[in-house]
């Protein structure tokens, strides 16, 4: 293996017993971290040490650890998923940090993402937004039509596919100064709006999803573009312009 110099770090980690408790930043020195390890492996090492000492480990979300599930979160040194671009926290490596560096690790902060414990937040608000309209109604019992039998212009198909790449991680919310979910909602609206199958319920979809997002307490969009920069899947804010267009025309006619 490479003999890259091991890192000695100071971690400032948000600890909070439960949703109602008052949390605070705890300081943990951590030595001998390989630059080749992932950020979550680094946290595993921290947790093993805490368990050895009889302390409670730091709670954080993770599942696939390969950038597809959207579970991992964390606001690292002032940015969701840390300083690297187009990656989730599980794809972030310690070589992005310097020896001797202090790393701030906080939960995604939003009224609509309440802290469950430590760094883990409740993102079920996204599920409720999806339930409000992020689907098409098709009878799947019996002779379902093959989706590929409907011709779709390549550009639209590609664009819908890019929008569908959203993994619902919530980095856009965490990055936004208004904790707005606009990029997420716009991606979910767009992935259907661009396809013929989605057109039938398009008006209700955009109206209901946008209203649900507001009900959950996500903020308005100030078009700062922070979401697009921090999104691990490179979802473009063009989707937000499309969502606004869809919303405007739907609210005029419905």
């Amino acid at each position: 293996m490479s003999a890259a110099k091991k890192l000695n770090l100071t971690l400032k980690v948000w600890r909070q017993k439960n949703g109602n408790a008052k949390g605070n930043l705890e300081t943990y020195p951590l030595a001998d971290i390989s630059p080749d390890s992932s950020f979550l492996e680094m946290l595993d090492i921290l947790n093993n040490g805490l368990i050895d000492k009889g302390e409670s480990p730091v709670v954080f979300d993770h599942d696939c650890r390969e950038g597809i599930c959207g579970s991992c979160s964390l606001y690292i040194n002032g940015e969701p998923h840390g300083p690297a671009r187009l990656v989730t926290t599980c794809q972030l490596h310690m070589r992005s940090f310097k020896d001797g560096e202090t790393i701030y690790i906080e939960p995604f902060r939003a009224k609509a993402f309440p802290v469950i414990k430590d760094l883990m937040v409740d993102r079920s608000a996204f599920d409720r937004i999806q339930h409000a309209g992020g689907y098409i109604s098709v009878n799947t019992s019996g002779n379902t039509q093959d989706a590929n039998s409907i011709p779709i212009e390549k550009e639209d198909a590609d664009e819908a596919f890019y929008s569908a790449a959203c993994i619902g991680c919530g980095a856009c919310v965490a990055a936004c100064k208004n904790a707005s979910a606009s990029l997420f909602v716009a991606a979910k609206v767009s992935q259907y709006a661009l396809l013929p199958q989605g057109k039938i319920e398009a008006k209700d979809r955009v109206l209901n999803m946008v209203k649900q997002a507001e009900k959950e307490g996500f903020g308005p969009c100030s078009n700062t573009g922070a979401c697009e920069v921090e999104c691990p899947k490179g979802i473009s804010i063009e989707n937000i312009a499309r969502m606004n267009r869809e919303f405007l025309s739907a609210s005029i006619t419905k």
Binding site: K12, W14, L25, Y75, N77, G78, E79, P83, Y104, E106, R109, A110, K111, A112, A175, K177, N178, A179, S180, L207, V210, K211, E214, G217, F218, G219, P220, C221, S222, N223, T224, G225, A226, V229, E230, I237, E238, I240, A241, R242, M243, N244, R245, E246, F247, L248, S251
Partner: protein, 227 residues
């Protein structure tokens, strides 16, 4: 209507009133520049704008409505912005993903509003007083045969403190528009890959050139008045 209470509709109203103010400001700058090029025509246009019923009773109320709409929506939106994140981050590196202008529209906006207060105190309230309270629509001072507008304008640009406030306000207006111009096109759904570069270029040119124009005109009168 329930939809109109969503932040998208509120922001569309902000964007449309903002764009309306953008057009108004261009017209205002063109008239101001007459005060440098030709004081007589400045006087004439000022008199026309100040006494024409269509301007006074149709365009002016629309303008005031636009400013108030923009202001009220701005305050409501800002409140919603803040409510969405009750607990702030301990450490934030927002500069890595967004511009200062885009994150501080409320600061640049309120600075512009304070300036508007001063501007109304300087020009608009005296106008209303002379024209509609004293009932003098002649546009001239007592015993004079020249229009008063150019003289009044010169008179306002004598104090260096006033000049400083005036210039600084336009710097903040520039910051407001460096984000606001292109942002309003995004809000109304007009921005996409095809138009974005043109909109952004146009916005940057406008946001620098128009406030700079106002500053240059003010400096011109300030320098002329000091000797």
């Amino acid at each position: 209507m329930e939809n109109s209470k969503t932040s998208i509709i509120r922001k569309v109203l902000m964007a449309l009133s903002g764009l309306f103010l953008v057009i108004f400001l261009l017209q205002h700058l063109m008239i101001n520049s007459l005060s440098v090029i030709n004081p007589d025509s400045f006087n004439e246009v000022s008199h026309f704008m100040g006494t024409n019923p269509a301007v006074q009773f149709l365009l002016q109320p629309i303008l005031i409505f636009g400013v108030i709409l923009h202001l009220v929506m701005g305050i409501i939106i800002e409140q919603q912005n803040r409510n969405a994140r009750p607990i702030k981050y301990a450490f934030s590196n927002a500069g890595a993903n967004s511009s200062w202008m885009s994150r501080n529209m409320i600061i640049s906006g309120i600075t512009v509003m304070l300036f508007l207060g001063l501007h109304f105190y300087d020009f608009w309230f005296p106008e209303i007083d002379i024209k509609f309270i004293q009932g003098d629509m002649s546009g001239m001072l007592e015993g004079e045969t020249d229009f008063r507008y150019f003289k009044e304008l010169q008179h306002k640009f004598v104090s260096p403190v006033r000049m400083g406030i005036y210039c600084l306000s336009f710097v903040f207006l520039s910051l407001h528009l460096l984000h606001g111009f292109q942002s309003s096109f995004q809000t109304v759904g007009f921005k996409n890959r095809k138009y974005a570069p043109t909109i952004e270029k146009l916005g940057n040119i406008y946001a620098v050139a128009v406030p700079l124009g106002f500053i240059i005109i003010a400096l011109f009168h300030f320098i002329n008045s000091s000797h």
